[in-house]
């Protein structure tokens, strides 16, 4: 049961009124398996606030029209709204004037746009693509396949046993013919946030561009691509209170200019002759066909929602949650948790195993208690190999989670122990 006298618990030191925030998320009021619903699978996707859902409904009900095409009022409104959300997102991530926001289906597509457009053109036999063993498959398999196709090879930023990076000899890695670096801003398994600034500055000293996978990071932290100085940044709307099927590729103009589009068709051309075509300027050149217009409306509402609450406050609240979680975890001697012990380099993701109980069994018992977690290898088999395990249970938190949710998780784990130790 959610405790009724939880004022001191919900008003965490970030000053956020979590009880009030929870009211914005219709899903949180539901029960699952007959128990009050505890959602701790935010790493997979976040729940959606009413504001986001309503923004999509408003587009469909009030000014549904294609963009960049109609000469009538509703198309004009939709186009204006679409373009203004592009500017809103650029502002949200601190994009500099020579950077562009391209709408995609999500992180996976964003990475593939860069692999196809920049990678295929610039990476050849014998070249090195530098990634890491803690990448999500989206930022791993994509480069692995390009390496196979081109006769290039993958190399890895050295990882320590806890899944953090050893950057001591980073500079020496560039003695290899490194052509491109692709790295995560936050591990979806451990929540580890590498020192991106060092990686990017080092790569740039060697003239190598860097792509950042911010799928996990962007929903919880302030992003400033100008400060970070990355060349590409990818993230997904659905992990940051936005709808599914919409994501972002941020890219530096000088690199985007030399890239081939990933897709061809309408909306991205200026003039089509019999045998040749000329293409629109950036960023539209990379958005062939009718985009996910409703998704963009939802993403705009999600950015407004998160900014209304404040990214700093969200990050601080989650820091409090992960610290509390790790403190509670210490009460369980048979619980092994993965990731760096240093909380300051970690987002609110808690990956663990309980004794020798398989993660699927833990997840299944938690499900019966109304608690949603993810189990298995989380689309990240290389890091599982690094840890020498087949999988983990993952509880990943977001702004609407509170201390009660964490307490219920541990009550659920007590239940798991009860079943397996009898």
């Amino acid at each position: 049961m959610r405790s009724s006298v939880s004022v001191d618990k919900t008003l965490t030191r970030s000053g956020l009124d979590i009880a009030k925030i929870r009211e914005d998320f219709p899903n949180l009021g539901r029960s699952m398996r007959g128990k009050s619903f505890v959602y701790l699978d935010n790493g997979a996707t976040s729940l959606k606030p009413r504001q986001v859902i309503e923004s999509e409904v408003r587009y469909y009900e009030e000014y549904c029209a294609n963009i960049h095409r109609g000469v009538y009022e509703f198309s004009e409104i939709a186009t204006e709204e679409y373009d203004s959300i592009r500017a809103k997102v650029a502002h949200f991530i601190g994009a500099p004037a020579d950077g562009h926001v391209i709408f995609t289906r999500g992180t996976t597509e964003s990475v593939n746009v860069v692999m196809n457009g920049w990678g295929r053109k610039n990476i050849g036999a014998g070249d090195v693509i530098l990634i890491s063993e803690i990448e999500h498959h989206a930022n791993y398999v994509t480069w692995q396949q390009l390496a196979q196709e081109k006769g290039a090879r993958l190399e890895f930023i050295p990882a320590l046993p806890d899944g953090s990076f050893d950057l001591n000899n980073l500079d020496a890695l560039f003695d290899m013919p490194v052509k491109f670096v692709a790295v995560t801003a936050m591990s979806n398994v451990t929540g580890y946030k590498p020192d991106l600034k060092t990686i990017i500055d080092t790569a740039h000293r060697h003239g190598v561009p860097v792509l950042v996978d911010a799928a996990q990071y962007a929903s919880h932290h302030t992003v400033n691509v100008a400060e970070l100085d990355c060349d590409f940044l990818c993230f997904s709307g659905h992990k940051m209170c936005g709808p599914t099927g919409i994501g972002v590729l941020y890219g530096r103009e000088s690199l985007l200019e030399e890239m081939d589009p990933f897709m061809y068709g309408g909306d991205m051309v200026v003039r089509v002759k019999r045998d040749t075509s000329s293409f629109k300027p950036l960023p539209e050149r990379f958005e062939a066909g009718t985009p996910n217009i409703a998704g963009v409306m939802g993403l705009g509402a999600a950015v407004d929602y998160l900014q209304g609450i404040g990214m700093e406050a969200i990050a601080e609240h989650e820091q409090h949650l992960i610290e509390y979680t790790l403190m509670r975890a210490a009460e369980f001697p048979d619980l092994i948790s993965y990731g760096p012990a240093d909380h300051s380099s970690r987002g609110a993701i808690f990956s663990f195993n309980l004794g020798d109980v398989h993660s699927h069994d833990v997840g299944s018992i938690l499900d019966q208690e109304g608690i949603a977690v993810r189990t298995g290898f989380h689309c990240a088999q290389p890091i599982m190999r690094l840890f020498g395990i087949p999988g983990t249970v993952r509880a990943s938190m977001y702004l609407y989670n509170d201390i009660d949710d964490i307490d219920m998780l541990f009550t659920g784990l007590d239940k798991v122990r009860g079943i397996f130790n009898r």
């Binding site: 398989h358 699927h360 299944s364 290898f377 087949p390 079943i419 397996f420």
Partner: protein
């Protein structure tokens, strides 16, 4: 019944913990691998066969309790059987979990009925059946 009685009853946990049929068989007559990538179940089966009879059958690998219990029960139930008999038991076991068939196993292998409760938990059915689908492949290929 609640999930503790369906999924985590004593007999299932005993079969999950049993090491009796766990490990590889050197020079096995048949060997096959099976995996459920989404949940991390990853098993290998080993059969040693003599004169058309399964003399010994073991499994190795990693799986959840339901998957391993299913594998151990399979090893117990198929030891000493002809391929024909084994296929009959596999069909009955799958029928119990995938269709509306009421199980009617011989007394010697009536423990298999303990898995019937898994039917109520659709995502776990593929765990219970992993070893059974794998052995079915071996038996059909060998026919």
């Amino acid at each position: 019944m609640n999930y503790e009685e369906d999924l985590y009853k004593e007999i299932i946990l005993e079969n999950y913990r049993s090491k009796k049929n766990k490990g590889a068989i050197e020079g096995a007559s048949f060997h096959a691998e099976g995996a459920n990538p989404s949940c991390g179940d990853d098993l290998e089966l080993f059969l040693s066969v003599n004169n058309g009879v399964i003399e010994r059958i073991t499994y190795d690998g990693i799986g959840c309790s339901i998957c391993c219990a299913g594998a151990n029960l399979l090893c117990e139930a198929l030891t000493g059987r002809s391929f024909e008999e084994a296929l009959g038991i596999v069909a009955q076991f799958k029928g119990m979990l995938l269709e509306e068939q009421e199980p009617d196993f011989d007394d010697a292998i009536s423990d298999l009925e303990a898995m019937q409760g898994v039917k109520k938990y659709p995502v776990r059915i593929k765990c219970a059946l992993l070893a059974w689908n794998t052995v079915e492949g071996i038996l059909n290929d060998a026919k």
